[in-house]
C-alpha cells in the first residue's frame, strides 16, 4: 500500500535480465569498435545512418504498438486483428491519393459497409441507431464514401487524415460486432475471435484491395533526397528520415495529452485501472472501449501509410499486417503492456535490434550475417521477456496504464 512497496517491487527483481542486457550491449559496443578498425566503410556516418534508420523503423512499430497496448490495457485482449487494421489503413491511404480502381457499384457496396460501421459508431454517442442524427450521418457517410471510393483523388496529407478516420471506424466496428458480445466470455474465446477477425480482414483485404504488391509513391517532396555530414562522413537519405519520427512524435504527444488532459482520456485511464469503480463513477465503459479502438486504429492507419512511404510499396493484403503486427505486439510486451511510454520504448528496442544489429553484423565472406534472422528477433525477445520479466521494461508498477 505504501510507497516503499512500489519501490521494492521495482528494484527487488532478479538480476539475470540485466546481465543478459549488459552482455548484449557489451557485444554491440565491442563490435562497433572492432568494425571501426577493420574498414574505412564503418565510419561515424555509417553508424549514424544505421541509428536513424532504426529510429525510423522503431517509430513505425511504435504507432502500431500503441494500439495493442491501449486495447490490452482496457479489455485485456491481445487484439490479434490489429496488424490487419494497420494493413487496411495503408491501403485506404493508397487508394485515396492514387485514385480508386473501383467502379460505381462496387464503390457503393463498400460505401454501404462503411456507412453501416459509421452508424454503429455514432450509435455510441446518440444511444440509438434509429436516432435521426445517426441516420443522417449514415446517409452522408454513404454518399461521401461512395464518391470518394469511386472518384476522389486527394493529396497525401488529406489522404492520411481520411484514412485514419475510416480505419478508426473499422476498428470500432470490429469491437462492436465481434468483441462486444464476448465481454464476459472466457479469454480464450475472445482471443480465438480476434484471430478469426484477423483472418477475416486478411481475406477481405484480398477481396477489396486486390492481391498484389502495390507501389506506394505519392507525389510529394517527402521522398526527396536529404543528406548531411557528420564527423567528416556524409549520410545520404531522404526526408522521410526526418518526417517519420517527427509525425510519430507529434501523434504520440497528442495521444498522451489526450489521455492525460481530457475528460474522456481520464475515463480511459480510470477504466484501465479499475473498470468496475470507473463504472461506479458514471463512466460508460463501452464508450471508453470504443474510443480506445478508434484511437488505436487511427494510429495504426498512420503507421500503415508511413510504412508504405518508407518502403515504397505495400505488401499483399493477406500478408502485410502479420509480421509488423506481431512485431509491434512484441514491442508492446517488451515495453510493458498497458503502458504508453512502454510501447514506444519497446518499439525502439525492436527497431534497433532489427536494423542496427543487422547493420553491424553485415555479410562477410566467412559469415553470412544475421539479416536472414532479423524477423525472428522480435519473437525471441518476446519469449525472453515473457519468461524473465512479464511486466516488461517499464513494468506494471512504474508505468501509467491506459
Amino acid at each position: 500500500m505504501s510507497g516503499s512497496k512500489l519501490q521494492s517491487a521495482a528494484t527487488g527483481r532478479n538480476w539475470i535480465p540485466w546481465l543478459v542486457i549488459g552482455a548484449i550491449l557489451l557485444v554491440i559496443i565491442g563490435r562497433i569498435l572492432y568494425l571501426g578498425t577493420i574498414s574505412e566503410r564503418f565510419n561515424a556516418a555509417f553508424f549514424t545512418r544505421a541509428g536513424i534508420e532504426s529510429l525510423k523503423l522503431g517509430s513505425l512499430y511504435a504507432l502500431i504498438a500503441l494500439g495493442y497496448t491501449m486495447v490490452y490495457g482496457i479489455i485485456r485482449l491481445i487484439n490479434f486483428a490489429h496488424g490487419e487494421v494497420f494493413m487496411v489503413g495503408a491501403f485506404l491511404t493508397y487508394f485515396l491519393f492514387s485514385g480508386s480502381p473501383y467502379s460505381w457499384p462496387v464503390a457503393a457496396l463498400y460505401g454501404l459497409c462503411i456507412a453501416y460501421g459509421f452508424m454503429r459508431v455514432l450509435e455510441f454517442w446518440r444511444g440509438r441507431l434509429t436516432d435521426p442524427l445517426v441516420l443522417v450521418g449514415g446517409a452522408v457517410a454513404l454518399l461521401v464514401s461512395t464518391l470518394m471510393l469511386a472518384t476522389l483523388t486527394v493529396n497525401l496529407v488529406f489522404a492520411l487524415i481520411f484514412s485514419m478516420l475510416l480505419t478508426g471506424v473499422v476498428g470500432i466496428t470490429i469491437d462492436r460486432v465481434a468483441y462486444h458480445p464476448l465481454r464476459t466470455a472466457p479469454r480464450n474465446s475472445l482471443l480465438i475471435t480476434a484471430i478469426a477477425v484477423s483472418f477475416l480482414l486478411q481475406n477481405a483485404g484480398l477481396l477489396v484491395f486486390t492481391n498484389r504488391q502495390t507501389p506506394f509513391r505519392p507525389d510529394t517532396p517527402i521522398n526527396n533526397a536529404f543528406s548531411f555530414t557528420i564527423l567528416g562522413g556524409e549520410v545520404r537519405t531522404s526526408w522521410l528520415i526526418v518526417a517519420i519520427p517527427l509525425i510519430t512524435t507529434v501523434l504520440v504527444v497528442v495521444l498522451t495529452l489526450f489521455v492525460n488532459r481530457t475528460r474522456l482520456g481520464k475515463a480511459m485511464r480510470a477504466t484501465a485501472q479499475d473498470a468496475e469503480v470507473a463504472q461506479m463513477m458514471g463512466v460508460s465503459v463501452n464508450r471508453v472501449i470504443a474510443t480506445t479502438f478508434l484511437l488505436g486504429s487511427m494510429l495504426a492507419a498512420a503507421g500503415g501509410a508511413m510504412w508504405g512511404l518508407n518502403f515504397g510499396s505495400i505488401n499483399q493484403p493477406a500478408v502485410m499486417g502479420i509480421l509488423p503486427g506481431i512485431k509491434a505486439f512484441a514491442a508492446a510486451v517488451i515495453g510493458g503492456i498497458g503502458s504508453l511510454p512502454g510501447a514506444v520504448i519497446g518499439a525502439m528496442v525492436i527497431g534497433f535490434s532489427e536494423n542496427f544489429l543487422t547493420a553491424i553484423f553485415p555479410r562477410t565472406p566467412d559469415f553470412r550475417g544475421i539479416t536472414e534472422f532479423k524477423d525472428t528477433f522480435a519473437f525471441l525477445l518476446l519469449i525472453f521477456v515473457l519468461l524473465v520479466r512479464p511486466s516488461g521494461i517499464v513494468g506494471e508498477d512504474l508505468s501509467e496504464k491506459v
Binding site: M1, S2, S4, K5, A9
Partner: protein, 272 residues
C-alpha cells in the same frame, strides 16, 4: 510428533502484514477450528500450509518434515489436502471424475500403459473407483448412484460442498484443511455436515483443520479454537473460553466507542 506444526510464520503482501509470527500445533486426530473476522488471514494461513504461498519467515512442519518451499502437488503427496472457500471444483466434469482426479498422483502406470489399458492399469483404475465411492459414501446416498455421472454444474450448492470434501479426502491425505465447509448451507445441512466432519475424524482417521463462520458448528465439533485478527493469534483454547474472551468479542463487533456501558461489555450469553 505433531501432525502439523507452524512456528513463527510471517507473510506480508506488499506493505500489508497478512500473518504475523503465528504459532500453531495440530495433533493427530484433532479437530481444530480457526475463526476470525473477514480479512483476518485465515485463508492466507491455508494457502501457506498448502504451498500456494511461501512464508516470508518461519517454519511449517508436517509430521516432522518441513514443507516450506514445496509445491502444492508435492504437499498433497505428503498428505495434506484442502477444500476451497469459494468452491474450486472441476465444474464441467462429473462427480465421479472429480473424486477420481485427486487419486491420479498415486497412479504408478505410465501414460502409455494407460492408453493401452494394461491389466495393471485396469486394476488400479478399479481400485481408484472403489476408493472414490468409499469417500463419497461418507455423505450417505446423496452423491451415489446417478449423481456420480452428473456434471458438477448441475449440483446444488450443498452437494458441491460435499463433493469438494470428498475430493479432498480422495487425495489420500491424513490432514484435511476445510475452508468454510458449511458456507451456503441451510441449518439442516449444516447439522449434517457437522456430524460428517466428526465421523471423518472418528471413522476415517483424519486430522482436521477448519475455517468456519458458523459458530454453532465450531462449538459443536472443535477440540480447540484458534482466533485470528489482523493476522495475529489473539486467542486459543476451548470454544466456551475463547468465545467469552473480551478480545475476541471486540475483534468481531469492533471497539466500543460509547463508554456509557462501563468497562465490562455485556456478556453475549452464548448457548451450549
Amino acid at each position: 510428533m505433531a501432525m502439523l506444526e507452524i512456528e513463527g510464520v510471517n507473510k506480508a503482501f506488499g506493505g500489508l502484514q497478512a500473518i504475523t509470527s503465528l504459532d500453531l500445533r495440530v495433533e493427530k486426530g484433532e479437530i481444530v477450528s480457526v475463526i476470525g473476522p473477514n480479512g483476518a488471514g485465515k485463508t492466507t494461513l491455508f494457502n501457506l500450509i498448502t504451498g500456494v504461498y511461501r512464508p516470508d519467515s518461519g517454519n511449517i512442519q508436517f509430521q516432522g518434515r518441513s514443507i516450506v518451499g514445496k509445491k502444492p502437488n508435492q504437499i498433497v503427496d505428503l498428505g495434506v489436502a484442502r477444500t476451497f472457500q469459494n468452491l474450486r471444483l472441476f465444474t464441467n466434469l462429473t462427480v465421479l471424475d472429480n473424486v477420481l482426479i485427486p487419486q491420479h498422483h498415486k497412479l504408478n502406470s505410465t501414460w502409455f500403459s494407460a492408453v493401452l489399458k494394461t491389466p495393471a492399469y485396469r486394476r488400479k483404475e478399479q481400485e481408484m473407483r472403489e476408493f472414490a465411492l468409499e469417500k463419497l459414501s461418507f455423505f450417505g446416498p446423496r452423491l451415489m448412484s446417478f449423481r456420480l455421472y452428473q456434471p458438477v454444474y448441475v449440483l446444488s450448492y450443498a452437494n458441491r460442498r460435499r463433493t469438494e470434501i470428498a475430493r479432498a479426502m480422495a487425495t489420500g491425505a491424513k490432514l484435511l484443511l476445510l475452508d468454510e465447509p458449511s458456507a451456503g448451507m441451510n441449518p439442516k445441512e449444516t447439522t449434517e455436515i457437522t456430524q460428517i466432519i466428526r465421523r471423518m475424524r472418528d471413522e476415517g482417521g483424519y486430522t482436521i483443520l477448519l475455517v468456519e463462520h458458523k459458530m454453532n458448528l465450531v462449538g459443536e465439533i472443535s477440540d480447540r479454537v484458534v482466533v485470528l485478527d489482523y493476522g495475529e493469534k489473539i486467542a486459543e483454547g476451548a470454544y466456551q473460553q475463547v468465545v467469552n474472551d473480551p478480545k475476541v468479542i471486540e475483534a468481531y463487533l469492533g471497539k466500543r466507542v460509547d463508554d456509557d456501558e462501563g468497562a465490562s461489555p455485556e456478556e453475549p450469553g452464548l448457548p451450549r
